[in-house]
Amino acid sequence: MTTTAGPADVLLRMSGITKRFPGVVALDDVRLEVRAGEVHVLLGENGAGKSTLMKILGGAYHADAGMIELKGREVKITSPRDALDLGIAVIYQEFNLVAQLSVMENVFMGREPRIPGRPGVIDWARMRRETAAILKELDLPIDPARQVGKLGVAQQQMVEIARSVSASADVVVMDEPTSALTDHEIIQLFRVVKQLQARGAGVIYISHRLEEVPQVGSTVTVLRDGRYVDTVPASTPIPDLIRLMVGRDLTKQYPKELVEPGAEVLRVEHLERRGVLRDASFSVRAGEILGIAGLVGAGRTELVRAIFGADHLDSGRIFVDGKQVAVHHPVDAIRAGIGLLPEDRKTQGLVLLLSIAENISMASPGDVSRRGFLDMRKVAARARGFVESLRIRTPSVHRLARSLSGGTQQKVVLAKWLASRSRVLIFDEPTRGIDVGAKVEVYQLMTTLVQQGAAIVMVSSELPEVLGMSDRVLVMRGGSIVAELAGDEINQERILAAAMGQEHVVAA
């Protein structure tokens, strides 16, 4: 509303932002300038400080130093309430929904519509109407009265997006909004972003999917190690963006090496789970990377969770090294040499209140203990090895897992299964939320693992990754394995056709 100092169209300016956590300088004199009507992409490796900067803007954290100006006026943001009142809406990287409440209550939380003349009384009818309108705009067929906890991850993410849209904020922050979305929902999201842009809002967009940068972005600011690197147009070629992010060139995105497949390590036969899995059978050999593709909801996660003993199976048999194993519980799977990196690491992969070192040793305590007592020095030493080899960004292995950035947590889960030296490693969305540099490191690790004789099963929604890393690809649809592709058959068209059930073969 008021426009005074500075270039007329600078909506938000953050300058000199510094934030220290015990032992870490998360942000050091960082600046960011967002214009009205632009989509400003924030790029940086895991732990670069992107989320921290946005938490400061949203009032969740307080900066140790620095200044925030909105429309040319300096503002003090000391609480989330302040930020909301100033017209700043943030979708945080971690879900921030109240699972027990309805979709509409979550969308309007903190600014519930009230019945005129009756202070404090919620206007449920209006809340429902307006939520329905927003959901319709987002092309989301969800009942506004539905309990949020009963929605899938992707739909929950869309509810968060609906909330930020409905706030009609001037500045909308989206911290990795697409990491849990399907292609269709991503298209809806981009449409919404364009609408926000047309309305004159400034959108700050964080993502590790670099291909999204030219699709939605106008400008890019790059952070590295908590410091400001540069601000460039979104049309900057991706290799240049990567160089800014990592400070070096990345030579090979998919470091795939051909390994001569060995003996069969894992075979599953006729796995059944009512309503979820239908007659799923496959096998994987030592030295092989088996990709599992399919649309969201095709049953991929359910398949690997069942093999790992995390979910119950109605029938079916599992063989490791040719011997049938009874897997009723993850403990059985771990004993048999199967490891799982779950899709949702925050809730399934890590104990957030334990240290990095303890998390890494969780699945293989035998190696670092004697007669039931953990040797904490060994635990730490082993963890330090992984921190180095995986380049886990932390000042100490004794840090709580909770204090790590999203992508760094992912690396800790990875280390846990590497430490357990599993014969079969199942990766569910292994690179979700991790930065380009770390992705290549994960791929390199996979390659090393198969060279050492492990078998890898990789569930992934990232087609390039499936194409780039798999020796063989299974495609799932509706709980069944509908196609198996090998060699030259592995291409985008074949996978998509199988995933969608042939009839609507459209390039996604």
């Binding site: 989330p80 909301l84 027990q100 939380m109 309503g275 909801g297």
Partner: protein, 341 residues
């Protein structure tokens, strides 16, 4: 990938089914209550008499009021162990204001409510300002402080003969409805309880603050980041709980025509039990006013019926403990059923 098995067509199907299971569960507690009433009615002719039902109402009122306060606290994921002791302190203050200071009963009543609310604010501030790690601790401390204070100011003696006035009216009077043989006398306190339940129902379901109580319990961080004043909500719920303890003190003082420092021993546990039997989740964010009423009624009917059947009081305690465990187990089953769908 979502955890849903199939991209099921988004029809109203699952939505309706969910509502049905929820209704079934709500009915479940109600069915339990009806079943209890039926059993006692069949086994003792004196159970279903208007006199006995009024007796149940009188015996249940205090717990029903405390349970309402407890409900809002548990909804935020907290607990208030101090309500029984706060009731005692409010009750003796009320009695002393009336007898020692010689003031009107209405002033005694205001004093009782003020004591309850003040100690509730204290509980809230201990939690939000001193950042005591869990309300279990702050309210445990408050419980001892209030009980001790009640004993100190009375010297351990009870105070009786409060005379007439509003307190006696609320706690002891009855309204006669109808005439002749068909007339039923309804205790005034029953109206107080009904009014309180209606008000809480409206408050928790219709007002912004009421919904923020659920949000605070369901996911405090999400609530905070959405601009919900979480600390103020917490202070408020403990204040409400204290206020309800004050109101319960008024009812009990009227009923017994006295104030005694040992009043309300163990009442906090009865209030918590009523909430839990009524389906309130200990983790916060889940619980209803109607469920709490049913929970309080189940406790009251159970005590009364077992008395009528002259079951030993020690055995009554065993039975009530079993009912609590059974009720929570039903809840667990319900949740599991909800998940496997």
């Amino acid at each position: 990938m979502s955890s849903q098995p199939e991209p099921v067509a988004v029809a109203p199907g699952p939505e309706e089914r969910r509502n049905w299971t929820e209704i079934a569960f709500q009915l479940g507690a109600l069915l339990g209550l009806i079943l209890l009433v039926a059993i006692f009615a069949l086994s003792s002719p004196s159970f279903l008499t208007t006199g006995n039902l009024a007796g149940i109402a009188r015996q249940t009122s205090v717990n029903a009021l405390l349970a309402l306060g407890m409900l809002v606290v548990i909804l935020t994921g907290g607990i208030d162990l101090s309500v029984g002791a706060v009731l005692a302190l409010a009750m003796v203050v009320l009695a002393m204001v009336i007898t020692k200071a010689g003031l009107d009963q209405s002033i005694g009543m205001v004093a009782a409510l003020a004591v309850g609310a003040a100690l509730g604010v204290g509980n809230g501030l201990l939690l939000t300002r001193l950042h005591l790690p869990h309300p279990f601790i702050s309210t445990l401390g408050m419980m001892n402080i209030a009980r001790g204070a009640a004993l100190v100011i009375t010297g351990g003696a009870s105070i009786s003969a409060l005379g007439g006035g509003i307190v006696k009216f609320i706690g002891n009077d009855e309204i006669l409805l109808g005439s002749g043989d068909g007339a039923v006398s309804i205790p005034i306190m029953l109206f107080v309880v009904v009014l309180a339940y209606v008000a809480f129902y409206f408050f928790l379901n219709r007002t912004v603050v009421g919904r923020h109580i659920y949000a605070t319990g369901g996911n405090p961080e999400a609530a905070r980041l959405s601009g919900v004043p979480v600390d103020r909500i917490l202070v408020l719920v403990y204040t409400i709980s204290g206020l309800m303890a004050g109101l319960a003190a008024v009812v009990l003082a009227g009923r017994t025509d006295s104030g005694y420092p040992n009043a309300g021993l163990g009442f906090e546990l009865d209030a918590i039990s009523a909430c839990i039997i009524g389906g309130t989740s200990f983790f916060g964010g889940v619980g209803t006013v109607s469920g709490t009423l049913i929970g309080a009624l189940i406790m009251g009917v159970l005590r009364n019926g077992l008395n009528i059947m002259s079951v030993d009081t020690n055995w009554q305690t065993v039975v009530i403990g079993s009912v609590i465990i059974a009720a929570v187990y039903v809840d667990v089953l319900r949740r599991r059923a909800g998940q496997s769908r």
